[in-house]
Amino acid sequence: MSILVIAEHDHHALRSATLNTIAAARKIDGDIHVLVAGHNSVDAARAATSVEGVVKVLHADAAHLGSQTAENVAAVAAPLAAAYTHVLLPATGFGKNVAPRIAALLDVAQISDIIDVESADTFVRPIYAGNAFATIQSGDAKKVVTVRTTAFDAAAASGGSAPIESIGAPPDAGMAQVTGQELTQSDRPELTSARVIISGGRGLQNGANFKMLEALADKLNAAIGASRAAVDAGYVPNDYQVGQTGKIVAPDLYIAVGISGAIQHLAGMKDSKVIVAINKDAEAPIFQIADYGLVGDLFEIIPALTAELGR
């Protein structure tokens, strides 16, 4: 088997999702090459050479790859895929945008969001918002797979020393251009890889109240997440959303505050090691999956919890 992992990076460093994807690739048992497609991205390419298990790094660098649009990244990756049996991407916003384009160009099926590798052609993936796990076998000669990063422990970022091969890139497809980005600035850990997450829902009532969660998050060095209701209501930006169609997280500790526990939210956090639920409604479904549930007024509980942790 030969696996091409398409790196997710910011041109300077690899995103941690790439390390989880390489870990999944290692379970397939074959040579792992990593494609870094970017602009002024030699630092990201170099980072890829040190990852445990990587045999070679392919580096495509061009101005039009700076924004990493699906059209342009797929145009680099699809022709390369001729030499590989598997193409893997993380099931992040980037990977989900790019991977199916590659699969269609190769005329093969894609297996999305795998949580386990059973063999080179058989994978396990969640369906119906994670209420069922399906074991899927692909009959295609090439498999395009996206990887649920929380299901695979990251490959070590150092220990490897793969060579870098510079490759050319096709010209800009010229169909789409990124003209701007509005990114959340935060010093907190990244939501998808944080060890502790404090998540707020409709019960917070407004965006200002999220400051209360921030004080708690500071004590625990936690990331802050949110339910769909909180995002829809404008309390926090969209990238805070945890759920079936938002971020999938599996921290050591997930504290759900004022979140009722709809099926779609559970889909995003039920793999957390420990779940704490704080809600004034004793009937809230979230309590059914919480290891520690505290029924009460979050506006009293959260400050008390923050104070207690300060002891």
């Binding site: 269609a104 058989t122 119906y128 003209t179 990114l183 990238d239 059914q288 290891d291 509980i301 942790l309």
Partner: protein, 249 residues
């Protein structure tokens, strides 16, 4: 501008599905079915484009069994002008659906194909992107805002770190995300009118598309059950348990 909206009939989002005891799949017998929520958002967006005078005709399309006609009638009731069912009793996987949509797009020549970013049954999130690749068109995925002017779509996309604005030339494919709009409800008069709107049924053969599945489902199981239901009396007990029992802080 002609808009092609692709929709899918799925298990209703409120249903907690159960896995069949024999491991062959999820039990969908007698379960409530609805239009995929993200596709409802796509239909709503197309209808708003028509109301603004940006779209001139909305064609709704779905691929599946004959029961899917009800999903098309819903799209027609919401404001689509006509509908197409590509009828098949064979399991249609995303690559096959993308090929069927491409064949129809080749015939209909829409300036925009819009559909939900993922179906809530298979959670694949593939068709829109695959279709765009097969057509050689640009894609604006996970759209939370769309503006169309002079053959160009400006799409605000939800990405992992926040939002990104993509400007794409039409024709193109856009997939919808949750916050693009809030879909309307079909009114009873419109539901009645929808029964008279044209609904064409065609077969994959007629489109010269091979829909043979590439992926085989070997088994479907329930995820390991979480215990849950644990309660603590107060903050002190919570912190003590997290420190000493769970050892996560």
């Amino acid at each position: 501008m002609k808009v092609l909206v692709a929709v899918k009939r799925v298990v209703d989002f409120n249903v907690k599905v159960r896995v069949k005891a024999d491991g062959s799949g999820v039990d969908t017998a007698n379960v409530k079915m609805s239009m995929n929520p993200f596709d409802e958002i796509a239909v709503e967006e197309a209808v708003r484009m028509k109301e603004k005078g940006v779209a001139t005709e909305i064609v709704a399309i779905t691929c599946g069994s004959t029961a899917c006609q009800e999903t098309l009638r819903t799209a027609l009731a919401l404001g689509a002008d006509r509908a197409i069912l590509v009828e098949s009793d064979v399991e249609l996987q995303p690559l096959a659906v993308a090929k069927l949509l491409k064949a129809v797009a080749d015939k209909e020549s829409p300036q925009l194909v819009i559909l939900g970013k993922q179906a809530i049954d298979d959670d694949a999130n593939q068709v829109g992107q695959m279709l765009a690749a097969l057509l050689g068109w640009p894609q604006g995925t996970f759209a939370s805002k769309i503006d169309i002017a002079e053959g160009v779509a400006t799409v605000k996309r939800e990405i992992d770190g926040g939002l990104e604005t993509v400007v794409m030339k039409l024709p193109g494919v856009i997939t919808t995300d949750l916050r693009l709009n809030e879909p309307r409800y079909a009114t009873l008069p419109n539901i009645m009118k929808a029964k008279k709107k044209p609904l064409e049924i065609i077969k994959p053969d007629a489109l010269a598309v091979d829909v043979t599945p590439r992926l085989k489902t070997l088994k479907v199981v329930e995820p390991p059950r979480r215990k849950g239901g644990g309660k603590v009396a107060d903050v002190k007990e919570l912190v003590a348990k997290l420190r000493n029992e769970a050892k996560v802080i």
